[in-house]
Point group: C2
Chain length 203, copies 2
């Protein structure tokens, strides 16, 4: 196993990114998000704030808000969550929310009836240009990542995202992490030559 | 893609197999389980009966009982369920419940404080000896199975179980099925030559 191809892996719990308008609707006029914990990507943080999300079949409480604010609100949930909520959201790269379903967000100061923005986040790896050069991959390339353990999995359709401000980290949702029994400190090995054509990252 | 190596895949929701004593404790003396729906394996059925399961951190209602009765009670849950219940169960082949945690089962007529029997079921494929011969695998062999879609996965550590009374079907839990976005009618392709040594099936 080539140590140089090791990729640290983090599981992302369901979470929501909020625009300014929705922060104010949910938490009150002029409210500023309160950072609680830094995330693996520099500048990103989990907030003290949480919301309740409600679909046609059920609600989930205490869904974490991530900061900083974004241009458009986006809720990232797992397939398991979708069954509970009664929502069918597509698998998308972050920010690609055209033709996605909406949902109801409930905060302590008000409610937002989101028109769109609910996605299952596509598996992806954040990395710097230096990481990409070392690993021999490019921005938006699709790769595979293999994890071991007693429930080994090779994840196909993993999207590489390269930016100077990123830190090397693969993001899975909780279904994906649980399917492989991954916990804190998990890592996988990059496989650069998938044997089939991956879907268009913008699809 | 070799059509002959296609394996149908079913997702198993959390469920419990009960011994006679526990059927009576939960549903009343002399109670007989009521078949509601045949399962893919001949002779196996989902019952009308459900139980509530309670761990140190929480409970899950309406957990389906599967029949027929077994010699020893066994509860099969997903990793997602474990976090909700506050239980850490090992990955095991069905029936291998030595040194597994217990849990509280609640039925309409009584409660069972299970001493052991909670597992995450190891991925497995049921097949007949004829299937095994055609596919070129043996009972208790570890194989890989590849599924496509937009969240493609190659499942490693898949245990082959061969018996005349079985029907060809791969069983995953809900985390595993959701991680690959699998639904009804899902199938995968058998890969017979894993590149690493799989764990001991009895471990």
């Amino acid at each position: 196993m080539n140590k140089e191809l090791r990729i640290p892996i983090s599981a992302s719990m369901r979470h929501v990114h909020l625009c300014r308008q929705d922060v104010e609707a949910l938490f009150g006029a002029g409210h500023q998000l309160t950072p609680a914990k830094a995330l693996s990507q520099p500048g990103q943080f989990a907030c003290e704030e949480t919301v309740t999300i409600c679909g046609p079949k059920g609600c989930i409480e205490r869904v974490r808000v991530l900061g900083p604010e974004r241009q458009e609100t986006q809720l990232e949930i797992s397939r398991t969550d979708e069954f509970k909520l009664g929502v069918d959201a597509p698998i998308r790269a972050s920010g690609k929310i055209e033709d996605t379903p909406g949902i109801r967000l409930e905060g302590p100061q008000g409610v937002v009836e989101l028109k769109r923005g609910v996605i299952q986040a596509a598996r992806h790896i954040h990395m710097t240009p230096a990481d990409a050069e070392r690993l021999g991959v490019e921005d938006r390339q699709w790769v595979m990542v293999r994890v071991g353990g007693k429930r080994g999995i090779i994840f196909d359709d993993v999207l590489v995202r390269v930016k100077e401000s990123y830190a090397l980290d693969m993001h899975l949702d909780t279904d994906e992490a649980n399917a492989a029994d991954l916990g804190p400190g998990a890592w996988g090995v990059l496989i650069k030559n998938p044997t089939r054509v991956a879907p268009d990252p913008d699809d």
